[in-house]
Symmetry: C2
DNA sequence: TCAAAAGTGTTGCATCTACACCCATGT
DNA sequence: ACATGGGTGTAGATGCAACACTTTTGA
């Protein structure tokens, strides 16, 4: 039996980047389509689901192909299957992923140095997205909504940061996600009380008073996924 | 291009029923499989996604075929696509739905009177589920987790109740979902402060002091779905 | 010594929780 | 009248937001 329905996997890949203003902003990579439909428009990275591959693996694979990186967080966003969302009938399983700021910076620098940057991949800041193919604009909007929700009750923001970071780094990530500033004093108490962080005995120096570096408490889950096992999620 | 991946839609259909003990318990309908794989085992209602139908419509349709009813709440749960979850490669788009207690009671009574109840459909209480086909036990567990989470920050519990209800009715629904008893006084204040309820000038009489009947405030969304439009959800 | 970020203390307000208490009705 | 659930009041605990304040460094 053939249904003439094809299954695609796409991924909203998010990271933090330092904007020219100096503030941290959310950014994501898009791929320039070379074929119809929507040729020459930007779209989410993705591809067809193959028979031998699970959706979450397919998402991680296209993420690696697009960015050369592996995600620090990867979770299913939604399955989009409206009849009219594509000229042919396509069900898209969409995932969202977080990448560490320093990983992305290193990878982009390596690409620049080698001149081997993928030709049709470009990073866009979240406030300056181009016109998007299919319903991808709506999908990104939904991914941001989920991220902003989830940051309130889980540790997802840590997915943007390197292994060791200051409380100011973490607060900056929260502020970029939520789009508003947070009280440093209250932020410190909340995050310390959560038990998610382990203080190290190292400090970041360089400007003014040194700030203590923290690392994740790996005993605490990055995000509560409920009864869904780790095979449905990827956390590094 | 044929992927040899088929797309199915299944639905976790939940309602409240009065158990023999008199307490309200969650219950759901299951379908006895007649074909391999998993012949003679119970499974979630569902079927193949057809080319002309959106997933949410397919879910509502199989729900109607199984129960003769339309849901008061219907939302996507998750897309399951692990390679080994079925002998052939199947991606299942799973939805979860809420039915009104009184609708279900009426429909079951009608079936009993006419003798036309669907032969291979049976309702099970959540604490007494049979062995289930595929990964459906895990799916139901996840649906219950979502329901219990969502009841904390949205009005979904109202999906179980008729148009007019007492605060004790609503509290009983919450207690059945959460599996613990709630303080009537504090429950009243919380739900009144939420602005979700409109008091009517009618009362339910019959035992002791009459209780005021309330109705939903339809200006308030049943559950915050974020940027996903109503075409991805069905609310009655 | 001064600016600026790190980090601590304190106060007030809103919310939750437990439980005492009053109210209205059928039996 | 009384048992029972409907409905109100209130004191203590907890959590959060605002902001004053101290500490530590680089310049």
């Amino acid at each position: 039996m053939t249904q003439s329905i094809r299954v695609a996997v796409s991924t909203v890949i998010l990271t933090l980047r330092r904007a020219e203003s100096g503030a941290a902003v959310l950014a994501l990579p898009l791929v320039l389509r070379t074929r119809e439909p929507f040729a020459d428009q930007w779209a989410l990275p993705g591809g067809w689901l193959t028979a031998a591959e699970s959706p979450v693996d397919a998402s991680a694979r296209t993420l690696a192909e697009t960015t050369g990186l592996s995600p620090s967080y990867l979770e299913q966003l939604y399955a989009f299957g409206a009849v009219d969302r594509s000229p042919t009938r396509v069900v898209s399983l969409v995932y969202w992923a977080l990448l560490r700021q320093d990983d992305v910076d290193a990878q982009i620098a390596a690409h620049r140095a080698s001149g081997l940057a993928p030709e049709n991949v470009r990073w866009f800041e979240i406030d300056a997205l181009p016109e998007l193919a299919f319903d991808h604009a709506k999908i990104i909007e939904y991914a941001l909504w989920r991220l902003r929700n989830k940051v309130g009750y889980s540790r997802v923001a840590h997915g943007f940061l390197p292994a060791e970071f200051t409380l100011a780094d973490l607060r900056e990530a929260y502020e970029a996600i939520l789009g508003r500033s947070l009280d440093p004093a209250n932020f410190r108490r909340q995050v310390e009380a959560s038990g998610n962080l382990l203080p190290t005995d190292r400090f970041r120096t360089g400007s003014h008073r040194p700030a203590r570096l923290y690392r994740y408490n790996t005993d605490v889950a990055l995000a509560d996924r409920g009864p869904l096992g780790p095979e449905e999620t990827s956390i590094r």
